[in-house]
């Protein structure tokens, strides 16, 4: 399985202009979204990247610390050109 670590780290998130996670309530305005939506905004991740392989794995595994890991070889995820997935 091809597991290329993608670019994003918690530090990169913290340095961005996106509001800090701890300041965001659960029911939020569209401009203040939590974890994965923040990741998506910072990286261009879309729902289309959440494709599922034959073994039920999701193409992009968003780790708890905010790291994205490309799980699936031979996928057509839109991040492919950025990370060699």
């Amino acid at each position: 399985m091809n597991k290329n670590k993608y670019l994003l780290s918690a530090a990169a998130l913290a340095a961005s202009t996106i509001p800090a996670i701890a300041s965001v309530p659960t029911t939020t305005s569209p401009a203040e979204r939590p974890a994965l939506p923040i990741v998506a905004r910072a990286t261009g991740l879309t729902a289309a990247d959440l494709i599922v392989g034959l073994d039920g794995t999701v193409a992009f595994d968003v780790q708890a610390q905010g790291t994205l890991v490309c799980q699936a070889a031979n996928t057509s995820c839109s991040q492919a050109t950025n990370n060699g997935c």
Binding site: M1, T26, P34, A35, L36, L54
Partner: protein
């Protein structure tokens, strides 16, 4: 703190460390509840699909799956007890051999759950049970009836007493249905909440409560089902019920649902299993679905499980269920069926074409 829990839940909805399968051993049922939306058309899961479940989980466990959540649903799963027993023990053996933690559970009407079956299930790490009551006997027996319209209250109550007396480490979620006409029976010193709390929940952390308003879920008797006029009214009723249970001595940790500031869907959770990328419903004929409330909607069929364990997903069918993970839309997260199938979201990306 609430937000931290939400962040963790979103991460858990995408990670490949976790797999959540809701398995229908059969879609037949021994009850005919007044508001039920199911058609009972599919019978017992054949051996080929049972093998498919085994092979899928084995493959993932061999690749380092950390947690596997197995939930039996239906129909009434215990109508196909042999399938339940085979799957529970087979999957538990696979997970134990590979170091994967299995968290097993069952949504059951409770009528067919005996002590010997509980012992067998607990031995296979199936220790979570969701059992529904519709209120006191007079209300419950009008709605949750057998095929000859016989009431089921006494049998369900007896099962809850059996669970209470069992020595196992359990997680028993008592789902209490309510509606505008039954609410009054639940409240007050002589009300049903006090009775349930005193009998099962108070001072026993193995038991939890979940209050769920009746809805018109697509069954043939929807027009006769009493429902609240608005989500605000429904939410206010939930608050009353929670306050009643707290007054009866239940702990705040014994409520399955968040309070006041949460977005809740039909699932009763901030993120429904149907909105998770790593959760699937395996129907008894091998079709793969996302939502357990909309089996008759073809958009809910997102793939098929083959005998060798391949989960063949139609991505174009699956991805609309996951939009909440990207958009953060609370409704699309808490109830993607409402947002996607029934187009009640304000987020156009989640609406049906």
């Amino acid at each position: 703190m609430r937000f931290d829990a939400m962040s963790s839940e979103i991460a858990g909805a995408v990670t490949n460390d976790h797999l959540h399968l809701i398995v229908n051993p059969t879609e037949r049922c021994n009850l005919r509840c007044a508001y039920c939306y199911e058609t009972f058309a599919l019978g017992k899961m054949p051996e080929t699909i049972v093998s498919g479940v085994f092979n899928l989980v084995k493959r993932r466990a061999e690749k380092g799956l950390k947690t596997f959540r197995l939930e039996f649903f239906g129909g009434e799963p215990l109508v196909a007890w042999d399938v339940v027993e085979t799957l529970a023990h087979g999957l538990s053996d696979i997970c134990r051999a590979k170091g994967t933690e299995m968290l097993g559970g069952m949504t059951t009407n409770g009528v067919l759950l005996t002590r010997s079956r509980l012992d067998r299930l607990a031995a296979a790490d199936v220790r979570s049970f969701q059992v529904t009551l519709d209120g006191p006997k007079a209300v419950h027996d009008r709605r949750r009836v057998g095929r000859q319209s016989e009431g089921s209250f006494e049998a369900v109550w007896k099962t809850l007493e059996m669970l209470k007396a069992a020595p196992h480490s359990l997680d028993v979620l008592i789902r209490l249905h309510f509606d505008p006409t039954s609410l009054e029976h639940c409240l007050g010193d002589a009300g049903f909440i006090r009775r349930v709390s005193a009998s099962f929940v108070k001072d026993d952390e193995r038991f939890r409560l979940h209050f769920h308003a009746l809805g018109r879920w697509g069954g043939p008797h929807d027009d006769e089902t009493p429902v609240f006029g608005s989500p605000v009214d429904e939410r206010a009723a939930v608050e009353k019920l929670i306050d009643e249970a707290l007054a009866a001595g239940c702990s705040p940790t014994q409520f399955a649902q968040y309070r006041r500031d949460a977005a809740l869907g039909e699932s009763g959770h901030a993120i429904c299993y149907a909105a998770r990328a790593n959760a699937f419903v395996i129907r008894s004929d091998g079709r793969v679905a996302k939502c357990t409330v909309a089996f008759e909607d073809e958009r809910n069929t997102v793939g098929r499980l083959s005998e060798n364990g391949d989960l063949v997903i139609d991505q174009s069918r699956h991805l609309p269920w996951l939009h909440g993970l990207i958009s953060g839309d609370p409704l699309a997260l808490s109830c993607p069926a409402l947002a996607y199938l029934w187009s009640k979201s304000d987020d156009p990306s989640t609406q049906a074409a």
